[in-house]
Amino acid sequence: MPGGDFHPFFFVVIAAWILVCGLGVVLFRNIIYSAVSMVFCFLGVAFAYALLNAELVAIVQILIYVGATSVVILFAIMLTEVQQSYGQLFHRQAIFAAPLAVAAAVVMTVMVVSTELVDVGDTSLNLSVHALSSLLFNRYVFPFELVSLVLLAAMIGAIVLARRQGEKR
């Protein structure tokens, strides 16, 4: 199979891992638990990529999400010095949000199930890193440069936002 052999066993294990950790992020009262749960969730997603034979994405996932984003979030938690959510965990809006999420799940399930997506070509789509990078730096070089600009803007924005008021040279 082009997407790698589908191992139901591994799939079920990883899917359960991801979903449980995701629920943990949303449901834990202690924000540190949420954060740790998120890190594990990201890790699970990385394994999912590996299972899909997308090694590059899996590595990038671990590098950026597990390595960088998680650390940034932990920093933010420490800086805000609120380890625990006191009082209400959810808004009152949650009683509408839960049915909405369930409804979204139902609708999308219906769509996934009712749509014939199994149209697999004969080519092996398991592109090598070499092929991917040549694609990135030729055909997709313009989005690539744009993304670099977005990163620059985000960096400047983050510095401006995080600087204390009145702290001017």
């Binding site: 979903l19 994405v57 959510s85 080519t123 789509l125």
Partner: protein, 102 residues
């Protein structure tokens, strides 16, 4: 049910969990974490479709890479805003921020 369908169902469920977190949690940092879950869900869908379907020629994989990059930027800015807000109000619970009320 083909394997792709299963992957898509997984992505869909993770997306809905994240969406619920975004809508229901009061803590802004958790909201941002939930947002990351949603983005990851989308990425799973992208990579799965790219690996199972012909003709995408790596676009799905590259697109997920772009999403990861942009998500990192988004987290940086979002948390910057959270910290700035925290400095102003000593809280990260987003129902305290209603200055834009009409």
């Amino acid at each position: 049910m083909s394997p792709l369908d299963w992957w898509l169902l997984l992505a869909m469920l993770l997306f809905c969990i994240g969406a619920f977190g975004v809508l229901a949690r009061r803590n802004t940092i958790v909201v941002i974490m939930s947002l990351e879950l949603m983005l990851n869900a989308v990425n799973i869908a992208l990579v799965a479709i790219a690996q199972f379907r012909a003709g995408s020629q790596g676009a799905g994989v590259l697109f997920s890479l772009f999403v990861i990059t942009l998500a990192a930027a988004e987290v940086t800015v979002g948390l910057g805003i959270v910290i700035a807000n925290y400095r102003a109000k000593r809280t990260v619970e987003n129902d305290h921020f209603d200055e834009m009320k009409g």
